[in-house]
Amino acid sequence: MQGALSATRLRALRMLLGTYALLYTLARLPELWSIAHYPASEMEATGLARLAMPAPVVISIAVATCVLLGAFVAGWRYRIVAPLAALGLVFVFSYRSAWGQIFHTENLMVLHVCALALAPVDRDGDHAWWVRLLGALTVVTYVMAGIAKLRLAGLSWLDGDQLRNQIAIDNLRKALLGAGTAPLALPLLDRPAWFAPVSIATLVVELTAPVALLGRRLAVAWVTLAWAFHVGVLLLMWIVFPYPLVGFAFLPLLPAEKLLPRKLRL
């Protein structure tokens, strides 16, 4: 990656991933308000969320984080604003994950903003290195998910039974909680033979993620597979991973600057 191109790409990533984080946080405000009213005894501390706080305090921090993210996207007083925006984002989504469920849909978004907060914003600096770091963060999270399966279930995870059972249980929970079942879950649950290839494909996608760092074509190929994997998760479990589904999780591996209007690429 040439110097000017990598600076433009890093800038594009800051604007695009920052905008995503801003819109996502805004969309979560009503739910944050709701969980901020849960009894303190239900809290399970994680990340920066160590204590239950009054709802107005939680929402104030979330709103302040949105304002900071707006400045982050604009690049305004970046060296001060960006770390504060990242800190706010880690707090807000730690708080959301502190009530019985870790939201794995949010880790990578938060990590990308943290990395961008550390990256250079002016013309000086090794912009290409920071773009690669953002890509490496995407890759590492997928590899870790694959390793976790092998650590917890071993190679038996590949026979399909574990995946089928997980999908069955997940859909049952949703059915009992009135949230509906995923469109492909019921047709496939009665056909166990389908799950071995799906399990193998899942692990292949996760464990081969590092190939995306080896060049543009491999990146495009892996991103396509990983995106398809998330579509599969959606159709089998009704679990929406919005960050990868809209493609933003993969932008550091792709020519992200092409998504910016031409006048913003300079």
Partner: protein, 133 residues
Amino acid sequence: MKAAGVALLAAVALPLVRDPRHDAFPLSTYPMFAEPRTTRLTMDYALGETGSGERRTLSPRLVGTGEVMQAYVRLERAVHTGEAPALCAEIAARLHGTDIAWVRIVTGQHDAVDYLVRHIIGPEKERARCKVP
């Protein structure tokens, strides 16, 4: 600043050396769907009942959250801390003006494939029952 970037990447990978069951945010072990399990599920959940005794499932919003798993955890905690009647009343209050007459919080034991594919409902033990105001 590159050192900080390397430290961030290392921190993200660090959970590889801890028990994958000990998940956290934002430094996760990413244990989603990794834990071996059977299709048997014992679970606490809320049900609605119309005046004619028709069974209805209730959405997570009625439990006070838009998230399925948070509703699941709230119900489980309420049953295990003896607060099921209070949560039952909270849900019932949100159902005011609907055709649901009663709310029940139950602990059900189901086989997931039987329930979903063959529509076989397992045994359910009632933990709380309250009238919709």
